[in-house]
Symmetry: C2
Subunit: 367 residues, 2 copies
């Protein structure tokens, strides 16, 4: 066993590489290009594992993250966030460094401002909203899409690369069928827009992304590119949505047990909101919980242990509610494994990965 | 105005120093020693502002944080977390470096293990639980307290410094009176324990901590030391509990506006779960929200603007629900100020502070 003394994010390299490989093979089988989202691992090393499986282009969630991956040698980077023209200096720096930066736009005036400010030609994706209602132009509002498209057509330095849709509403579903239905709608809407714009633009790509859809959808007719990130690790949210098996989850927190309360049947671990994030799920009795417990083993970790759950978090404390039978089996000084609710936020907080042989895997925020 | 281009945590140095000064003056007036909790700012520079007001000892929430402040020159550091003997190497290193480390214990066996492993004498505080039900020995269970105290009395290298109680249930209150009632109970219980142990130990300190109590309680008879951290910045939770005025909140996130949705009356900012944390409050209609909006000004920021709130967060996106009158006044490219729900977690995520003249203030996790 690794000599773990404080909250540590463990990464099962084999599971992670299998997740990457499986998604790459699926993309290849369905004839779509996978542009994986690095907001989950935020790691040049893990992006390298994707490259080994044939990935040529990546997605990131901020200009700062784009700059990190550009520095690591990536040349085709999509920033999946409405472009913020205040960051023009960093954008121009990457363009000058030869990065094929792909930016999201949702507003004609921003297109004009960007066009006036970029130092080299840049590819744009118009973000469409097919029902998630976060960002993107309502895909049914053809007039609004055309206004933005027109501003791109009239621009000198920016060009239309494609249409992007993140159907994040798949996170609110209860069945595989619902996920597929949401994708089917998104694909239809995006292709309707593509057709409407095809008089003025050639070869508009349709890119769709989110882990539930990329994992579960088999009919990708009308899709050119897919983009998802969470699948690289998966997590309990994905397991509860039946998107992945719990054995696919590639990260687990290792947390020392520091106190036991016999009266309440509670165990305190070092592992709180600054390690896990406050994202949670609800159990069958509508009780919030923040993680499931596994036993750490030489070669990884056990399946989820029933009768014990992470039920409350403060900044550094985690409280586990433990069934009577288990309580006596866990001692102060033990190190428990906890599968995270939301691996993206946990990884963002932990800023480093320890693989099972004890080696560290890089993270962009590593101190 | 500062040239802000991406999510930035602004720190109003004057407000922060006033918060520190006010708490120091209160402690001095009431004859208690303030041992401020650095889990909120996690900054050697801000700890220095406390030192300028006469603070000699600090509290931290982990051994890692203790090591950071020890390196910054602090010699009297309490780790307000049940001691984790797996971290004995770091503990011994600090003891060897001459740090007067004060550790929390709740278990007799841990006391024995610690005693066998420490390289130099170390001070312990027994953590008592007076009703918060997170960690600590039930203050009413005198037998349990005495068991731990006995293990300290019989030990060779560890000694009893005091009793600590964090009445975190003050965060669940609805009135100043309730906060004071919780403290009154905690003080009574801690002193009952102190009296019971006084035959075997001399000069047992009673330390109590949490920002609502330290701010609102005026009768500290029976208390020797107080410990709180959030008061250094305060935040919306504290404002909603009427612990502070909104004008006392010393930190605000600056977030660029990147998109507007006229149909839904929503504005998207760059500022999400990786910046704010997912902590939230509920408005009068039981709707979750993640921050309140202020106008950034040359000398700080305005009072909270009514009619606009941060209502949803994903990893990097923040969505503001905006009233009709305000919607047209906010443009893409503007930078809005957002007061955080929970300043401790926001500061932990942002890992740096920008004061109003543009200078950076250190944070232990700064890259």
């Amino acid at each position: 066993m690794l000599p773990i003394t404080r909250p540590t994010l463990l990464l099962d390299e084999t599971k992670c590489k299998t997740n990457i490989q499986r998604m790459c093979q699926k993309a290849s089988r369905l004839g779509v290009k996978l542009v994986p989202h690095m907001k989950t691992p935020q790691s040049a090393e893990i992006a390298g594992w994707c490259e080994q499986e044939g990935v040529e282009a990546i997605t990131v969630s901020s200009i700062k993250m784009a700059a990190y991956f550009a520095k690591a040698g990536w040349k085709d980077i999509t920033v999946a966030f409405p472009v913020n023209v205040l960051e023009i200096a960093e954008i121009n720096q990457m363009l000058q460094d030869g990065v094929d930066l792909k930016l999201f736009v949702v507003d004609a005036e921003v297109v004009q401002r960007l066009d006036a400010m970029v130092s080299s030609p840049v590819n744009l994706l118009i973000e469409l909203d097919a029902g998630y209602n976060r960002t993107g132009i309502d895909a049914d509002d053809l007039q609004a899409v055309k206004t933005v498209a027109k501003s791109i057509a009239e621009a000198r330095h920016v060009k239309l690369y494609g249409l992007y849709c993140h159907p994040g509403n798949t996170y609110q579903t209860h069945s595989i069928e619902e996920v597929r239905q949401i994708w089917s709608t998104a694909i239809k809407k995006a292709n309707f827009v593509r057709n409407a714009l095809s008089q003025d633009f050639e070869d508009i790509k349709v890119r769709i992304g989110d882990t539930p859809g990329c994992t579960l959808v088999e009919d990708m007719t009308g899709v050119d590119e897919i983009s998802a990130g969470n699948f690289i690790f998966y997590d309990l949210v994905m397991n509860y949505l039946n998107v992945c098996d719990e054995s696919d989850i590639a990260v687990a927190m290792a947390c020392p047990v520091v106190a036991k309360n016999t009266v309440r049947g509670e165990i305190t671990i070092h592992g709180g909101g600054v390690h896990f994030s406050k994202d949670h799920l609800f159990d069958d009795s509508e009780q919030k919980f923040f993680g499931e417990v596994v036993i750490l083993e030489e070669e990884g970790w056990s399946p989820i242990i029933p009768g014990i759950r992470l039920t409350s978090l403060s900044q550094e404390h985690g409280t586990l509610k433990v069934s009577e039978g288990l309580f006596d089996q866990i001692q102060i000084g033990d190190v428990l494994g906890i599968l995270p609710i939301h691996s993206c936020l946990t990884a963002n907080l932990m800023k480093s990965y320890t693989i099972l042989d004890g080696k560290q895997v890089s993270h962009m925020e590593a101190g």
